[in-house]
């Protein structure tokens, strides 16, 4: 099993994703430079966080033009598991692989903190082993994580079961106080219609070991591994 960790100019959570995959979940992980145009031989793709191209113009707007994004599109069309984390999520939105867009946090400030997420669906490769309703403690670290989609789109993705995570309080209630950035419907993560492409603002790769304050992020990567094993071609 081989997982690609994409590296764009300005990616900065690439090493953390690599560490979580290689040294915690113990799968083969490889960095893939953004100028590559093929993901041949990979079983999963992680688009890590960071400030690709300095977040200039809009977050993720310039990274979507990199050659590797064509390969990601083909990989996703083929049903392969893709997860975009933080800036990776923003890139997937800009590339049109996921619906909606990101705007600046309601507080107008960068937020680095632990939040609680409620798992809304187990239909994705990254949540298939995480029962619906499971609460996860995962950190966020972003300036533009305020998820926006128009009412119609929100209705559609909710109806399709494309909302994967919502921000909630420790008891699992979705409240406006527990929403760190103003995201519509407290959405923290979504998936594509088929479910194989997931984007989320919180950072599972930062909490795969208990000494980091939580090991809940590990569940997502282990879920992906189990999905890949089951769907081995």
């Amino acid at each position: 099993m081989k997982i690609a960790v994409l590296v764009f100019p300005g990616s900065n959570c690439d090493h953390d994703a690599y560490h979580a995959l290689k040294h915690v979940v113990s799968v083969d992980a490889q960095f893939v430079w953004h100028k590559e145009d093929s993901l041949e031989g990979f079983d999963g793709v992680v688009i890590p966080g960071g400030f690709t191209y300095g977040d200039y113009l809009r977050t993720g707007a310039l990274a979507k033009l990199s050659p590797v994004m064509g390969a990601v599109r083909r990989f996703a069309d083929g049903g392969g598991p893709v997860i975009g984390i933080c800036n990776g999520f923003q890139i997937l939105l800009e590339a049109g692989l996921l619906p909606g867009a990101m705007i600046v946090n309601e507080s107008l400030k960068f937020i680095c903190d632990y939040v609680t997420l409620r798992t809304e669906t187990s239909r994705t490769p990254f949540t298939r082993t995480i029962p619906e309703g499971t609460r996860l403690r995962i950190p966020v670290a972003h300036y533009q994580g305020n998820y926006f989609a128009d009412a119609e789109t929100v209705k559609r993705i909710e109806g399709n079961g494309q909302v994967v995570f919502r921000y909630c309080d420790v008891a699992g209630n979705v409240t406006s106080e527990a929403n760190p950035n103003g995201s519509v419907s407290s959405i923290a993560g979504i998936c594509s219609e088929k479910g194989n492409v997931v984007g989320m603002m919180p950072h599972p790769e930062r909490c795969t070991e208990p000494e980091m304050g939580s090991a809940d992020g590990r569940l997502l990567f282990e879920s992906m591994v189990s999905w890949i094993k089951e769907n081995a071609r």
Binding site: L93, I103, V104, E106, F148
Partner: protein
């Protein structure tokens, strides 16, 4: 030839920056500013070409990169 491109947030998209600026203006005692929407302004220099051609080019640039039409509208004007 030169062109000016304006990218603004679409109606209905919350603009936290605009809201904060509006509040600050009213704190400064400048009443009468009801709403502020923050957008981007870009100045581009184009090679000489026919006007319709330039319009087509700018339209495509805005759609494909300069604006995200999920949240943003755009307009442009060509000088001369």
């Amino acid at each position: 030839m030169k062109a000016r491109i304006y990218v603004t947030l679409r109606k209905g998209v919350l603009d936290p920056q605009g809201k904060a600026i509006q509040r600050s203006l009213s704190h400064l005692g400048m009443e009468g500013v009801d709403e502020v929407r923050v957008g981007k302004f870009m100045e581009v220099t184009l090679a000489e070409m026919a006007r319709p051609e330039a319009e087509k080019l700018l339209e495509e640039a805005c759609r494909r990169l300069l604006a995200n039409t999920v949240i943003e509208d755009f307009s442009f004007e060509i000088e001369g």
